[in-house]
Amino acid sequence: MKQEENVLLDIEDLVVEYHAAGIVVQAVNHINLRLCRGETLGLVGETGAGKSTTALSILKLLPERTAKMSAQKLFFDNTDLLSVREADMRAIRGACISMIFQDPMTSLNPVMTVGDQIAEAIALHNAEVLTKQEIQKRSKEMLELVGIPAYRSNDYPHQFSGGMKQRVVIAIALACQPELLIADEPTTALDVTIQAQVLQLIADLKEQLNTSMILITHDLGIVAQTCSRVAIMYAGEIVEIGTAKDIFEADLRHPYTIGLFDSIPDLALDVPRLRPIEGLMPDPTALPSGCKFHPRCPQCMEICKVQHPSLFVDQEHQILCHLMKNSDAQDLENGGPL
């Protein structure tokens, strides 16, 4: 089990809503998440499940005008991020928590050399202690670290390929050796061979610098490769969380997780066609009552339509579903499955 002092990030009851033109989008609904030092957590879900919103709310970078965020607890390294002032938050961003964005094509400034962009990230947090030369030197070291020869530091982003650009983005994110790295679909925009390289690079550097990581993805293959724990998100909720072994191999799994796995083509199995999950993600402005997954769930019961399920806990494995019942908890009114 986890030790309290080892917890790096502790989120309790995080809610994020977007208010725009009188419509309320419920992007994240009562999420609890804990991350230990050195751990890699995979955050998996479809587009619009609230993964990126969760990531941005940790950095407090949600659009100010439209997003409303609240939480019981949002602790990072024993600092309460909820009460931190914006100036202090800036000191945390980049130095303690940093982020890799999805598309390397657009996340680099096209008119700055890559060396300068890495140097900027270093200078933002070390301008008092390091001289210009030292910053330049560190910038070149970071470039070498991600496998790009240092002489290219005077080149502009458009002179690099997609995979190389993502390496630069990684170098920027890791330039100040943050304790937490949030990677928001870092390989989605890359082709498969480059994906593997980049993932390997992230995993190696993470090991080397002892960084914790939240890896946001919709690709379960990537999760299996890199993550020690996995959280499955659906409609702004974490419907299942556990070790990678729990998610991939346990007998008891959330129907949505099962659906996700069934949607992956498998060469070894000879199935006539894939079994996608029927229907679409619910409209986040009008989420269904009860369990959010019930309109698409193949094992939907009457209770699912009216009552929000309670959490089933089996050691580290937690599932939000009416099908699973805690053995010690007394069954609620309706009893077992119909």
């Binding site: 980049g94 999805q102 598309d103 990230a121 002489y151 002179q159 920027i172």
Partner: protein, 289 residues
């Protein structure tokens, strides 16, 4: 290191320059502008200033000749000298109004675009009000209030250009604000001022340069028209608009008197416009060959 060389040769500005060289029309405009600017700067080495203002009634209204390349006007002043010194005023007004308008609208436009919301609304509605008043009318009002001089002319034309500039800068910044690299800079802990200065402005510079060069053309024409209706610089200062205005009485007998300043205005304005076009094409990376 041979590898290093082949990578280095290809920076952003080199790319822009290479694309610009391909546009023959813009290249010619640039050369014409160079000639115009140089002759304005070194005008006193070519013809002494008093040739442009001293009257010589005996030799009035002479057609172009070897002695007076562009002829003489109704007071016997050398038209070539007047055109040459007029270039100074036109360029001065064109560059100063644009620089002034750029500074003010650059600040207003970037604040409106970057912060959005109420600030944006207030600034842009003010600009709408400014836009509603016809430019020449606005300039006339300002001149009538402040009095007639080159400085006031610059202020008058500058004010009438702020609104258009402001809109363009705001839209460029609005566009850039949504880019991932701005978000990435924020996630590195950069503050607003730094993001605007190091990430937004260098990226917005392309469209702004283009707008500037077009704007200089508009200012030059604006200055000439103000002088033409008698609200610009006062005679006997050599200025293209005044020359046109004085020449209109001799349109039949001495057509060159109105044609030559007209050509000067058109060539200068057109060169700035074509240069702007060329720069826009060269600076837009989407048109990469």
């Amino acid at each position: 290191m041979p590898i290093r060389k082949c990578f280095k040769s290809n920076s952003m500005m080199a790319d822009v320059f290479r694309r610009f060289l391909k546009n023959k029309l813009a290249l010619i405009s640039l050369m014409i502008l160079c000639v115009i600017v140089l002759s304005a700067v070194f005008a006193n080495l070519i013809v002494p200033y008093n040739k442009a203002i001293s009257q010589d009634i005996v030799n009035k209204l002479q057609p172009p000749s070897m002695q007076h390349w562009f002829g003489t006007d109704q007071f016997g002043r050398d038209v070539f000298a007047r055109i040459l010194y007029g270039t100074r005023i036109s360029l001065l007004i064109g560059v100063c109004t644009t620089a002034g308008a750029l500074l003010i609208s650059g600040f207003l436009g970037s604040v409106a675009g970057y912060y959005g919301g109420r600030v944006d609304n207030i600034i842009m509605r003010l600009m709408d009000v400014l836009m509603c008043i016809p430019a020449i009318l606005l300039a006339m009002t300002v001149i009538a209030t402040l009095g007639q001089s080159i400085q006031n002319m610059i202020i008058a034309i500058g004010i009438s250009q702020i609104s258009g500039f402001c809109r363009i800068i705001r839209s460029v910044i609005l566009n850039l604000k949504g880019m991932d690299f701005i978000e990435a800079a924020k996630s590195c802990g950069a503050r607003d001022g730094r993001i605007i200065l190091t990430h937004i402005i260098p990226n917005a510079i392309g469209p702004i340069i283009v707008q500037c060069s077009m704007n200089i053309a508009v200012s030059i024409i604006g200055a000439a028209s103000l002088s033409f209706i008698g609200l610009g610089v006062s005679p006997p200062t050599p200025e293209w608009g005044i020359m046109l205005s004085e020449a209109k009485d001799h349109m039949r007998t001495a057509p060159y008197l109105s044609t030559i300043p007209g050509i000067a205005i058109v060539v200068t304005a057109l060169s700035f416009n074509l240069l702007g076009d060329g720069l826009r094409d060269a600076l837009d990376p989407r048109l990469k060959d």
